[in-house]
Symmetry: C2
Subunit: 262 residues, 2 copies
């Protein structure tokens, strides 16, 4: 049983890491579409097209289960993809929302890219499951370049993170969904801005949990097998991406392979 994970770039490696940890005996392939990232500012039409290309590649490597690690692709394309493909597809939004609602929140915050927030996919998914929850959502698109460029601890950037999150000050949120795979990487900064009482929901560990549950139920025998291989493919391997991977993940024990999806 091979698991395929895709993301617009390298932020989804947070999801890859969690799933790797939770499921050592499963083979895992990660695909980051670095040649065409970011997805968060592009249209549904374009994201649908890219997501299909990504899954087709993972399927060509015999992945039998897919995880959409990218929030934008989950927002725009998950429904279409689940219909199109006959294999199980997990996405970060469904898992994140399930985890958030388990906490029985009254006021739930969501942050994400422009596309994720303006698609209102989080609001729709939350309201479908519990119409009583008040949802307060805000796009924080500057966080991705700040994280990718390794600027978080440089002068003024902490203030910018705070300015973006000030929106939640009077909303009395009890939990906050980190609706972009990059955000867990600045969890500490976000926590100190919104206050220690607010529970941060990190979809990376949530989707790993949902997937584990599914596999325990349907492929329980595979848990006893020895540790399996991990592979990382990127569609572009510039110096920049390699340095970002280095900045984000101190220990990355896999060789990154280049794949052409053009």
């Amino acid at each position: 049983m091979k698991i395929g994970i895709f993301d617009s770039g390298i932020g989804g490696l947070t999801v890859f890491k969690e799933i790797s940890k939770a499921l050592p005996s499963f083979e895992i392939v990660y695909l980051g579409d670095t040649a065409r990232l970011p997805y968060g500012i592009k249209s549904k039409r374009t994201i649908d097209h890219y997501s299909i290309k990504n899954i087709d590649f993972l399927k060509s490597l015999d992945c039998e289960i897919i995880v959409i690690a990218c929030n934008t692709a989950s927002s725009y394309s998950a429904r279409l993809l689940k219909k199109k493909y006959k294999i199980p597809i997990f996405d970060v939004i469904s898992s994140g929302v399930t985890a958030a609602l388990r906490l029985n929140p009254k006021n739930l915050g969501v942050i994400g890219t422009n596309s994720t927030i303006s698609s209102e996919s989080y609001i729709r998914t939350i309201k479908r499951k519990n119409p009583k929850v008040k949802v307060h959502s805000k796009a924080c698109p500057i966080f991705v370049p700040i994280i990718e460029q390794g600027l978080v601890n440089q002068k003024y950037y902490d203030k910018i993170i705070y300015e973006n999150l000030k929106f939640f000050t009077n909303k009395k949120i009890d939990s906050l969904i980190l609706g972009c795979t990059h955000y867990p990487l600045i969890k500490k900064n976000i926590q100190s801005c919104v206050g220690g009482d607010v529970v941060l929901i990190d979809s990376a560990s949530e989707v790993a949990g949902s997937l584990r549950e599914h596999l325990l139920k349907h492929h329980g025998n595979e848990f006893k097998k020895p540790d399996k291989k991990r592979s990382i493919f990127l569609t572009d391997k510039s110096e920049y991406f390699q340095s970002v991977v280095g900045k984000i993940f101190r220990k990355l024990d896999f060789k990154i392979k280049l794949v052409d999806l053009k």
Copy 2:
């Protein structure tokens, strides 16, 4: 005589505007590769591939002269493209450098994206023409999201622009090349950071000048013709891009058309 301009996205519309103004009697087609932007963090291999796709599209519309408005594509791919195609190709780097050297500088500053600066294409082009000039270059990758997200006049962003340009404080530069099509849009902020004495070289108007010179020499008769059509094509037309175009260009009198280069 139809002129084709391409850029990774919408920053190159600064080049389009200058060329439009300088050459009203020429038909002009602009192509912004918004589906795959940004180029500034991607590899030469990927930028070469995208640039070829872009020119093939412009050629399919009968463009007989090409302007590479994107600094990254000019840095990485101009040489390859000029060899591959039999039509005249102008790029922002050659024009920008020619203009800068005309001022006879001793210390010349260059700012650009990561790829433009790390490719050292500006340094090479300058040194080839005048090895005596000292070149001081710095990547300022955070400027593009700041400009695109319309954050320039919001709290702390002026300070971040200043922090990036502090590098030039003791370099005694006499002029500064704005090596990214987005940067002319924050010209005032940059000028106030580096001081009023430093001449800012805006490659948009420089490439328009070089092109006009070439056309006067080879197609002088076409200058007397009536005003011609302008067209703008984008490879992705999300809400975000339309709002950015609106933020950057208050009056844009052309309908934006979508084209699929996948």
